[in-house]
Amino acid sequence: MDLANFLIQLLNSVQYGLLLFMLAAGLTLIFGIMGVVNLAHGSFYMLGAYLAYSLSGLFGSLTAAVLGGAALAVLFGLALEWLLFRHFYHRDHLDQVLLTFGLIYVFEELRSILWGDDVHSVAVPKALDWSIPLTDTLSYPAYRLFMSAVCLVLALGLYLLISRTRLGMKIRAGAFNRDMAGALGINIKLIHAVVFALGVGLAAVAGMIAAPVSSVYPNMGSQVLIMCFVVVVIGGIGSVRGALISALLVGLVDTFGKVLLPSVASMLVYMLMAAVLLWKPQGLFKA
């Protein structure tokens, strides 16, 4: 593998890793702060992709679709938290798994009713539909750089929100000791609703910006969910920093595996997970 190819595959890895991080961050936040195992997280990704498909058709612009879709997804997350999830914070993990597993089926069925079972494609925005040439044959698509940039900005925003703001302090307090934080006057219910909606929003935005490169198709949520769980488990359940490191690691292993060892590529990520868990049973970072 020559240097240019290596660099591009590195960019591919980082781009995939950052996308996974957007999903895994929400998943791990919702677990770390509310203690809810959310198997339906992949469905929010799928929802985002289908929203991008419909709204970009409606508005004629992916940017408008992403902004409108993100707002819709956050509202949807708030409604879902209020209707269902808040009743499950104190329940057993098994109950939560049953609830969210059932939700996967509900969302798939809704998706089938609303959008059908076909594969749809979403066009890359005109302004980003070009490539940066690196050698005579190799080039890197501008849209993917843009995707990585969006993910990085959101990751940074998330970090600042949690570590540098008053809201972030309350979130951390609630995660550390829910009852004590409540006794000190922090509105735990509100915090939960915000965190949940944030998680849903991140997953939906990931689905929206990924739509042009991954297409929009049934069951896309379930596929990505498995990778998300791998990321969260490797990174350490509940740790956002762990999710970032592990998402990048998974991106690297998956991309280079596909290229260098195509016959076993689909197993490599799981082998990585097994290896990490042997070495650190709690994952790389304990929350």
Partner: protein
Amino acid sequence: MTSRRLVLTRSAAVIGAASTGLLLPSIVRAQSSKVRVGFMLPYTGTFAPLGVAIENGFRMAIDEQGGKLGGREIEWFKVDDESEPSKGIENASKLVQRDKVDVLVGTVHSGVQMGIQKVARDSGVLSIIPNAGVHAATRALCAPNVFRTSFTNSQPTLALGKPMMERGLKKTVWITWKYAAGDEAFEGFRDGYTKAGGTVVKELGLPFPNVEFQALLTEIAALKPDAVACFFAGGGAVKFIKDYAAAGLKDKIPLWGSGFLTEGVLDAVGPAGEGIMSTMHYSDSLDTPRNKQFRLNYAKTFRLQPDVYGVQGYDSGLLLIQGANAVKGDLGNKKALYAAMEGAVIDSPRGKWTMSRAHNPVQDIYLRRVEKGENKVIGVAAKALSDSGAGCKMA
């Protein structure tokens, strides 16, 4: 008034017929009854249009011959298989056990076909496969009562090797989805291409139905092969063709593939599809009187343009007609029925073809090139190509 009386009489007749049918012992019913033909096809989901095209073609073949089979009227049964492998056996059993069909026509999805194959082998009911290309159906799990009118998954790609080598494309990267059909398509490509003297530089794959091709396209660009050969279909094919062009590979490395790459997707891919070479057992633009007449009739009857699936359904009808005529409608006379079907020469819109010993078409594979949004036939890539039928032992 007339219409109301008509409705009443017809209802009475239906109720009468139904109750008689219930009262009569089944043996009596079987003797006096019609030929029972069951369709097990996808009528919902991604493959629904394929199921409809197959049924259309099949019915058209029967209608062209007066709507009867060997002189007997036909009663139709339908089951939607939903392209769901886990329900394959259950759905096939419905037709065989409950509806007691004489013939089961199905299906599209190779996984579902494995369920049909099991039921067909266990029950001995005549089964005609109008699409699914899974190898086992006419190889290790072949059966005297199972006939395929379409192709095996390796048949179209087997024909790629010769025309590629004729154009000096000596080093090729292969890319497909890693699942049964992709693996079987690769088997055909590898055999045909290496036999013609070519080298497969690398075999790339991704899980079905994943369409994130970026890392693999980067690898292709870095390897700089003489050509790329692939197996993709449907929405994934659209994505692959577009991404291939977007990655700047379209004009540098020629793209070849199994014909399914360019079937039904040319409108969706637009200019990105121009110049793609593919091999398949049919093409819309096949310039023969037989094909033109078929296309005209089909378009008139169904107000739709036929595709390869319509042709395969049509040929399934033709095959059954030949068998049924030979035994004068007595489909219980299996020995004579199967002998007639084995010896049949099908005068198809795709060209004349015959049955191999393993009950799979021996057929011409055409070489096609996408020109102005159409699959233009530019020659025959392989004459009378047969599947190996490896491991088939007819009982």
